[in-house]
Symmetry: C2
Subunit: 116 residues, 2 copies
DNA sequence: ACAACATATCAGTGAGGAATGATATGGACC
DNA sequence: GGTCCATATCATTCCTCACTGATATGTTGT
């Protein structure tokens, strides 16, 4: 009934929460990490190897993903093993790919916001 | 078989395409616009009224959404009516809400990247 | 305790996006 | 044709995020 200023009581509107969650996914490095973790849980140095990102960069992104609750971690000896926290994340990534089947060309062409 | 540098032939990796699409959704203004359009097609000035964004701002975001293929437009007299381009977009937004049911607190708390 | 590996943290830098304000384009009606 | 309304475009400013490099913390094995 109030589209513009909804849910002010929870500290953020539903839209702001959605935007923030989307932002968690809106980075190639984080997506590469999530993609790798979708196949199997991995330790940080394994993620570094697979994604070819720097170690500190991976660590920074992992912290973000961890804080957001998108991944979870368990210590395993001297390693720390990260994993996808919920199958809904995999589902979401699949949906995006499905949407990309339709809008891929447009997205690549877009030059305004959100791009390149 | 090649996770890091896949699909170079299409000009962008699958991951880069996904990231760019996510970015299209990763902004409160664009989400507010999409949210409004999910209920019904709207002319620009109607979007402006509902979202309380400035006209030029809405126009800029609409161009981005249009280029990305997330919305479509039809001229209707002196108005230009925008609408969601595919039901998959609505589906994606619903999935995000479902994921938010699980990770909402974490996302709001996250302070590293993707935030505030 | 020490060495070697694994991971986290932090300051600084650079680039890109989001909003604004002013202006331009374009259709409709008199 | 001219005015009004609807929409698009452009330059500028500000702000935030992503990366780097160096360093700190932590764990295992000897």
């Amino acid at each position: 009934m109030d589209h513009v200023v909804a849910d002010r009581n929870t500290g953020a509107t539903a839209i702001e929460r959605r935007a923030k969650l989307f932002r968690g996914f809106a980075d190639p490095s984080r997506l590469a990490i999530l993609d790798a973790l979708c196949e199997a849980p991995l330790a940080v140095h394994e993620i570094v190897t697979r994604t070819e990102l720097s170690q500190s960069n991976v660590s920074n992104h992992l912290r973000c993903l961890l804080d957001c609750g998108l991944v979870a971690s368990d210590r395993d000896g001297r390693f720390i093993r990260y994993r996808i926290s919920s199958p809904r994340i995999t589902a979401l990534l699949n949906d995006v790919d499905a949407l990309l089947d339709v809008v891929a060309e447009g997205v690549e062409a877009c030059d305004n916001y959100c791009g390149e």
